[in-house]
């Protein structure tokens, strides 16, 4: 703003508003608590023996040895490194700065490694790093697609609690369509359509009839669980051969790349649904932030009246966004029945839709961050699988909680400032 050119002494006020520091002690305290819990675990449940980590698969260019390290010693060393890392965090906070991201990242990685060393100590089996990471990528597929579905819908102003039902409807439909045609592609397309149908119902009730978005979402989840379970027992179980036994997508190893140790089998020996994931993540990001479609969609989610006053059809934009969100979510649903295994099972998504929702929030409604969050949660899920294989001392019930605990902590504590679209959950009326 131009200052008025007049006589008079300008006030002592600087042009930019003054700020005071409001850096909270949340991060160093969180790091400290995690470290203490970890140390407590080591103290109360010490383990004997060595941990064996294998890094190679037989088809690699060259074989890496199986690394054998002393379990407890490594675990304690990691605790020590973690303790050292709390120091920069405390220092940064005292100087009113944020804890650098690398500190948190390294801290998490080191403690995770220490935990693995502790858990695998004394086990007769090798802990396969490839299995750990590769499984993480696979398990994150429904989470990533689900969270993208959430991002698209919520950016346009509709809360999408119904991701779970999109996944489940997709999984069911892919199983039936895929079994009937023996084509995973048909299953994939059918899943996308079924998921879009769920979205359409959500849209009709929330956009046209302005019913509370959370209630509709919850009802849809319950409805789809009921419907799929019913048809599963009534129709699929007696006709498993014809209706519930799909042909899965083949793995497509990428020549040369798949033979690089560790990352080859993890990233370059996957199915088409996995390869499409980064493409679609980028596509959604580009669409939202670089195209007319995305600009209008975000405008409708932030300030629908402003969008209306420049001639944008608010309701139509929201409908379209939800339908596209449904199509994307369906790809995640197809994962269950034409990628992961070859048949549908009752309630097989097991809450993945809600974790996808958490990934979306953790990713601050940004497709790329949401996808990364999905990968993290996928990793947590797979960690539990891998640890039960090596015979982890932690009771399996606790291990099953792991992904949810990670989700809870991630969303509650570590998100930082994030702002949902301003018009989220607000139906639009013209008056």
């Amino acid at each position: 703003m131009t200052a008025p050119a007049v006589d008079g002494t300008p006030a002592a006020t600087p042009d930019a508003p003054r700020t005071v520091s409001t850096v909270s002690w949340k991060t160093p305290i969180a790091l400290g608590v995690v470290l203490a819990l970890y140390a407590l675990l080591l103290l109360l449940a010490p383990r004997e023996g060595d941990a064996r980590f294998s890094l190679s698969t037989p088809t690699d260019f060259f074989q890496l040895p199986v690394y054998v390290i002393p379990g407890m010693a490594t675990a304690w060393l990691c605790a020590a490194i973690g303790a050292v890392l709390v120091v920069p965090s405390v220092l940064a906070t005292r100087r009113a700065r944020r804890t650098p991201l690398w500190v948190t990242g390294v801290f998490a990685a080191v403690l995770l490694f220490g935990f693995l060393a502790w858990a695998a100590a004394g086990s007769a089996r090798d802990l396969s790093v490839v299995g750990l990471l590769g499984g993480a990528v696979a398990l994150s597929v429904p989470l990533v697609y689900g969270s993208l579905s959430g991002v698209i819908g919520e950016r346009s102003g509709t809360i999408n609690i119904a991701i779970e039902s999109q996944l489940l409807a997709g999984a069911f439909t892919a199983a039936v369509a895929g079994s009937l045609t023996n084509s995973p592609w048909v299953g994939l397309v059918a899943a996308m359509l079924a998921s879009a149908l769920v979205s359409l119902v959500l849209a009709v009730f929330t956009i046209t009839y302005r019913v509370n978005q959370i209630i509709v979402g919850v009802v849809l989840n319950v409805l789809v669980i009921g419907l799929t379970s019913f048809f599963y027992s009534l129709v699929l179980v007696p006709n498993t051969e014809t209706l519930n036994s799909t042909t899965r997508f083949e793995r497509i190893p990428i020549p040369f790349l798949e033979r690089i140790p560790v990352i080859g089998p993890v990233l370059f020996d996957q199915t088409i649904v996995v390869y499409l994931m980064p493409v679609i993540v980028f596509g959604v990001w580009y669409g939202l932030f670089r195209t007319r479609w995305g600009l209008r969609l975000r405008a409708v989610g932030e300030h629908p009246r402003a969008a209306d006053t420049v001639g944008i059809e608010v309701l139509r934009t929201r409908y379209r966004a939800l339908l596209i969100a449904g199509l994307v979510g369906g790809m995640g649903g197809a994962f269950y029945t034409v990628v992961s295994i070859n048949q549908f099972g009752r309630e097989m998504t097991a809450g993945a839709g809600f974790i996808a929702l958490a990934a979306m929030i953790f990713g601050k409604w940004n497709p790329v961050r949401a996808a990364l969050a999905g990968l993290l949660f996928g990793f947590a899920t797979n960690l539990q699988n891998v640890l039960s294989v090596v015979g982890s001392p932690v009771p399996s019930q606790f291990m099953l909680m792991l992904p949810y605990v990670v989700t809870l902590f991630a969303v509650a504590g570590l998100v930082g400032r994030s702002r949902p679209p301003a018009a989220l959950a607000t139906p639009y009326t013209k008056e």
Partner: protein, 506 residues
């Protein structure tokens, strides 16, 4: 382009917001639509802009009847609007806001941001002001945001421009600059509709004036007509434009605020080292453009900012750090700035709203039960005393007019034994009749020897009510000056320029 409205009628249920309104605006003229809050001016313009469907009547542009399905149609026909509440997406950049709805793209829908930036720059240059196309709108001062609105309308080649209460958020200097822009637009041959209730502005730019009252056109006037003539036309009876009050008689009561600081959760200091004193029997008006820390200052006084620093001494006892309940119990009356969200529960009845702050004990609550008889008796008495125009005390308060709602708030806050009254924007969105009443009650409170703080963004009100005026700018006190300080000095203070001789800060 010539705009003509013929017999526009718009009803909301039983309420007739616009009753057969006729209006003609010629190209190259500034036509003022003058009327009180709630007279139906904004409704009329929303009909014109396609946001509302008129029940009767037609809109003509250059003699042709238009049928607007929505704002998109109105815009394509050449109507642009600068809304009272800006229609800008806060998290978008200026260029994105300007291009929204008629984006320039290359290829299949890929945004061409550089073209949008160019549009912003060239339009801004035409009017000799600078706007950074990449600035995010929510970071810009409101005056600049308004220019973005103007650029937005012009970038669509609007020939009829509607300014809906555009000066409410501006400093006097920004208002002058806006007037200059409006004149320039007029010289370019645009037809301009200027909606306002401020007489001073009307006189300055209008070519013709149409006065609206209760949804009807009640007359046309010449810009040279005297103030009270315009005012009485607007209100429908003779009005008093000044506030009657005696010289202040100070008492020993005193509110002393020193070094008060309030910061937002993300660390921005919004009340910055504010110190002042209000003595019993005087009104201190806190003036300044909206959003310069007044809201947070009053909230801090009442205890809504527990993290505030500094001290707030009322008759020697510290208020800072006390809960809102304790502050109220200490005898502080608080009229919040936004009565519909902070002052009242719209769905609750008048009676319930009147005892909203007294539900923790006798006389209205005994053994956990509301004493309904007592409550209703109290409510009837207050409705009478404060002249609340209502069909009954059981009416949901949200159904009352703005002025009557405000009287309910005032009645509640003044019915306790007060030792301090804080009234934020007490007359915003209130009809002239109620304004007179509210001003009178505030002056009576002062004359009872109680320190009174009034926050006002309207310079006229500030000057009329105040014994002393404190001007805030960007969270700081620019100065505390006597009420008879010249308007241009006050205007400059509102833009952050300190007066050359500091008024007595006693």
């Amino acid at each position: 382009m010539r705009l003509e409205l013929r017999g526009i009628t718009k009803r909301f249920g039983a309420l007739v917001a616009n009753d057969h309104i006729d209006l003609v605006v010629e190209p190259g003229e500034i036509h003022c639509l003058l009327g009180e809050n709630g007279a139906g001016k904004s409704t009329l313009m929303n009909v014109l802009y396609g946001l509302y469907d008129a029940d009767e009547g037609e809109i003509l542009l250059d003699g042709e009847v238009q049928d607007f399905e929505g704002p998109g149609d109105a815009m394509n026909a050449g109507i642009g609007m600068v809304h009272q509440h800006f229609m800008l997406v806060p998290v978008f950049s200026v260029a994105e806001n300007v291009m929204l709805g008629h984006e320039t793209t290359h290829g299949p829908g890929i945004l061409d941001l550089s073209a949008a930036r160019e549009t912003v720059r060239s339009t801004a240059d035409r009017f000799g002001f600078h706007v950074d196309p990449d600035a995010v709108v929510e970071d810009l001062p409101v005056g600049v945001q308004q220019r973005v609105e103007i650029i937005k309308a012009l970038s669509r080649d609007a020939q009829v421009l509607v300014f809906d209460e555009p000066t409410a958020v501006l400093t006097p200097q920004e208002t002058d600059e806006l007037m200059a822009i409006m004149r320039q637009l007029k010289d370019e041959g645009k037809a301009i509709v200027f909606i306002t209730h401020k007489l001073r502005e009307v006189r300055e730019v209008a070519d013709r004036i149409t006065v609206v009252r209760h949804g009807k056109v009640v007359g046309e006037a010449d810009p040279t007509a005297p103030d009270n003539e315009l005012a009485s036309l607007m209100v429908g009876r003779a009005v008093q434009l000044t506030v009657d009050k005696q010289a202040a008689r100070h008492t020993d009561n005193e509110l002393a605020v020193s070094h008060l600081q309030v910061a937002t959760p993300n660390g921005q200091v919004v009340v910055d080292d504010v110190s002042f004193t209000v003595r019993g029997g005087e009104i201190l008006v806190i003036a300044g453009v909206q959003g310069n820390g007044q809201t947070e200052l009053t909230e801090a006084l009442i205890g809504l900012h527990p993290d505030a620093r500094g001290s707030i001494l009322l008759d020697g006892s510290e208020l800072r750090g006390r809960s809102v309940r304790k502050v109220l119990d200490a005898g502080v009356g608080f009229v919040p700035e936004d009565r519909s969200t902070d002052g009242l529960v719209g769905e609750f009845s008048i009676a319930e709203n009147l005892i909203l702050d007294r539900t923790d004990g006798a006389p209205f609550v005994r053994a956990g039960s509301l004493q309904l008889g007592l409550r209703d008796e109290f409510a009837r008495e207050k409705v009478d005393e404060f002249d609340v125009r209502t069909t009954g005390i059981d009416l949901p308060v949200g159904r009352l007019s703005g002025g009557n709602q405000q009287k309910v708030v005032l009645a509640r806050e003044m019915s306790r034994e007060l030792r301090l009254l804080v009234a934020a924007q007490p007359t915003r969105g209130v009809d002239v009749g109620s304004i007179e009443f509210i001003h009178q009650r505030i002056v009576e409170t002062r004359d009872a020897g109680i320190p009174v703080i009034v926050v006002s963004t309207e310079l006229d009100e500030a000057v009329a009510l105040a014994d002393r005026i404190m001007v805030m700018y960007r969270g700081r006190v620019v100065g505390i000056v006597p009420a008879d300080t010249p308007r241009d000095v006050l205007g400059l203070m509102m833009a952050g320029v300190a007066p050359e001789t500091e008024g007595d800060a006693a």
